[in-house]
Every structure is written in structure tokens, then in C-alpha cells.
Symmetry: C2
DNA sequence: ACCCAAAGTGGAACTAAGTACCAAGTTGGG
DNA sequence: CCCAACTTGGTACTTAGTTCCACTTTGGGT
């Protein structure tokens, strides 16, 4: 695996947006478009870098100069939407609660109609189908999530159904995320802090009743 | 990438735990131990399948019969802990709130001292270092998370510090998880439902004020 | 208009993950 | 005791990703 930190794509502009850099960005965009067309036609896994390079009119070698990884083509696009969400979040009134502000920032994604080509909605479809994030796919099929979510669904005490399942999935994934955040913070301290306390903190900031049974 | 659904490891026991299956499980465990020793010594990326196979006394080919992927060695171990958490969750009193029950189920991980070899705590350390889940690493360094979390931290209105950062990370990751759950549910409906409503539902079940600014 | 250092390009050769296939060896259990 | 089923290792292949080198292009200053 390539180290994602030393991406060969944009080595931080030393001064301004020089002509060469703009050309480079344009190339990246064009190659990305070509790649996504192929992905949509034959799927992510079934599309080789060679095909993309050929279709875009460059060599395999050069492709890897623009994208360090095949995945990076997809991830780059995802990152764009992330930037939009981040911008939307920053634009929200400062006195809103973080959770509500986040919900409104996500409108950038949720309110985008699936009509326009290349819209976030379409991309979401492609991403889920493409199974790029093999890891997340695994987590949801074989990992903790699938083992825990059913029990959570049962505990929600609602009639079984797609909406209840979704709520259980959200709850489970959020909890796991909190645990992840706690362990990350714990590792950052070199293991000196109390992982248990950190987990309380992380989960508590989402639902104050995290400390009490009911 | 191998399809994680057709894992060559345990093709569903047709009748009982036959002798051959138990032998197989024992082999898997032993190979896994050898692999983790190598991972700990030289890191995940720098350890080749060939090395693991040689150290375990089997051929490369046979290794792939036990583990479809090098990652699966690690993921298998993670899955064991997941099963423990799931069991712990099922054992909690039925009248506890889901969120609290989840918190207590995580005690299996958080309360395990980092002393014993192969303890969850040690494994957590290894996993974060190994960067197996290249995706999650990316998400946290280049992805949405890193773009959104700082803003959330600012909005928490607390003095900057490691704990605030962790709370912001937890909040951000949880919100993204909710959005993921919503889009998954949305895709499951073929795009007929309102993604926006689903997002409200998913985020709302964690913090009731998700629907209101304050 | 000219020039050159820097950047871009493509090809060849390499490592490593993962897959497909085959021929031989082992063994469980009737 | 035996054979069908399972296991094993070897070879050959595809693809992602890296490294190196030689060649071409070009931006931008003189």
C-alpha cells in the first residue's frame, strides 16, 4: 500500500497557482471523469489502471503520477464533497448546537437531487456498489457492526422494520465510533489515561444518559 | 481484492465440529499467532505473506487457503473481540437503554489491562500502528473527519485540549456514521424514501435535539 | 527569439498480493 | 484396509504499485 501522506498529486504549491499546476489539476479532473465512466460501466474492481490510462490517453506510469492509487481516484471525489460539508458547517450560526449544525451541514448531501450527473446522490450509489472501502464493507458484513446491531435493534423495543434497523445501525456505528475516538485518544496518551473514563467521555457527549442505566 | 463473503476459511459446518475442522481451526490459530509476532516485530506492511508462510512452516499457497487475505489475519482477531462485545451486550438487563448497554458491553475492551499478551488493549495498539485499515486511516487524515472535526471542536465551546479533541472526534465520527446508516437505508429503498428524513431519523435517535437548533 | 533547468512522459524491470489449476500426498471413517 | 475426500505445494498468471532511466516538452527569464 502506498503511504497516503505523500500523495504525488499536489505537493503543496510553493507560491501561486502556476500554469503547470492548473494544467495538472485539469488533467486530474479529466482522468477522474474517464475513470468514473469506466467504473460506472464495469465496476471498480473490474476496471484496471491500464484501461483507465488507455482511455485517458496516457501511460500506466503517468497515471500513477496523478493518482498514487486506484482508490485515490474515488477518494479524491469523496474528499470534494467532504470539503463542501466542512464549508457548510463553518457557515452555520455559531450558537447552534454542534449536533444540529452537523445535521444541517449534511444537507449539502441529503438535499442534492439524484438527477444531475455526478451529483452526491449518484456518487453515493456508485461508492456503495464499488466496494472501494473494502474495509467498511467488511465491518458491516463480518465485523462488529453486524454482530451488535441486531441486538440493539431488539432493544429499541419498536416493531421490526427498515426504519428500526436503520436506527439500530446508526446507534451501533455511532457507539463504535465513540469507542474508536476513545482508544485513539488513549493511544495518544501512551496508555497512561483511563480508557474507561475516556470511553465514558466520548459516549457521554452524545447522550448524557450514557452514564446512567436509564 | 478478495470477496470477503466467500472466505475459504470456514465454509459453514455441514453437521458438527468434525476432527478435520478442529484441526483447521487450530492451524488458523497457530498461523495467526506466528503472523502477529512478525507484525509486531516488523510491522504489517513490511511483513510478506511468504515470510508468514515460511515461519509457520507452510507454503504461500496453503496460507491463502486459511486466510483469503493478509488483512484477514488481523480482521479475524478483531472479529473475536467483536463477538465478545456482542455477547456482553446480549447479557445486559433488557430494560437498560441501548446506549448505556452498549457502553457497558464495551467494558470487555476498556477494562482489559494492557498487561496480558494478546489482550485487546495490546491489539488496539497494534492495529492503529499497523494501518491495516488503510481506509480508516485515510478517513481520519485526509477525509471528511479531519475537515469537520476541527470546526466541531471549536463549536464545543470548551478550552482546547486533548479531551475536547476526543469529544469532537467522537461527535464527528458518530454523525458521519449516522449519515452512512441513512444513505445505506436510502439505497435499500432504491432511492424512493427521503434521504433527508432518514438522516433526521438516524441522527435524532442519538440526540433528540437533532431536530432543533438548540 | 532563444535557451535551459525543471517538469512531464513512457518504457522496462521489479516486488508483492491474490487467483487458477494441477498433480501428488494424507487421512478420516466406513 | 481402502478409497473418496480433503490437504498440500508448485507453477504460472494477473494486477497494483514502485523504481529507475532516458527522452521530450515547456515555462519563463534574458
Amino acid at each position: 500500500m502506498a503511504d497516503p501522506t505523500k500523495t504525488p498529486s499536489t505537493p503543496a504549491p510553493p507560491k501561486r497557482a502556476s500554469l503547470r499546476e492548473r494544467t495538472r489539476a485539469a488533467m486530474r479532473a479529466e482522468v477522474s471523469d474517464v475513470a468514473f465512466r469506466l467504473f460506472a460501466e464495469q465496476g471498480f474492481e473490474n476496471t484496471t489502471v491500464e484501461q483507465i490510462a488507455a482511455a485517458a490517453g496516457l501511460s500506466r506510469t503517468t497515471f500513477f503520477r496523478y493518482f498514487g492509487t486506484k482508490e485515490e481516484v474515488v477518494l479524491g471525489r469523496v474528499g470534494e464533497y467532504g470539503r463542501q460539508v466542512a464549508d457548510a458547517l463553518a457557515a452555520r450560526p455559531a450558537d447552534e448546537s454542534p449536533w444540529y449544525a452537523l445535521r444541517r451541514a449534511f444537507d449539502v448531501i441529503t438535499e442534492a437531487g439524484p438527477g444531475r450527473p455526478g451529483s452526491p446522490a449518484d456518487m453515493v450509489r456508485l461508492l456503495s456498489q464499488a466496494c472501494v472501502l473494502m474495509t467498511r464493507h467488511w465491518e458491516k458484513t463480518q465485523g462488529w457492526h453486524s454482530m451488535i446491531a441486531p441486538e440493539v435493534a431488539r432493544r429499541l423495543g419498536e416493531s421490526a422494520g427498515p426504519v428500526t434497523d436503520m436506527r439500530a445501525n446508526a446507534l451501533t456505528a455511532a457507539a463504535i465510533s465513540c469507542l474508536d475516538a476513545a482508544t485513539d485518544a488513549w493511544i495518544a496518551t501512551g496508555g497512561t489515561a483511563s480508557l474507561s473514563d475516556l470511553a465514558d467521555q466520548a459516549m457521554g457527549c452524545l447522550h448524557e444518559t450514557g452514564h446512567t442505566p436509564e
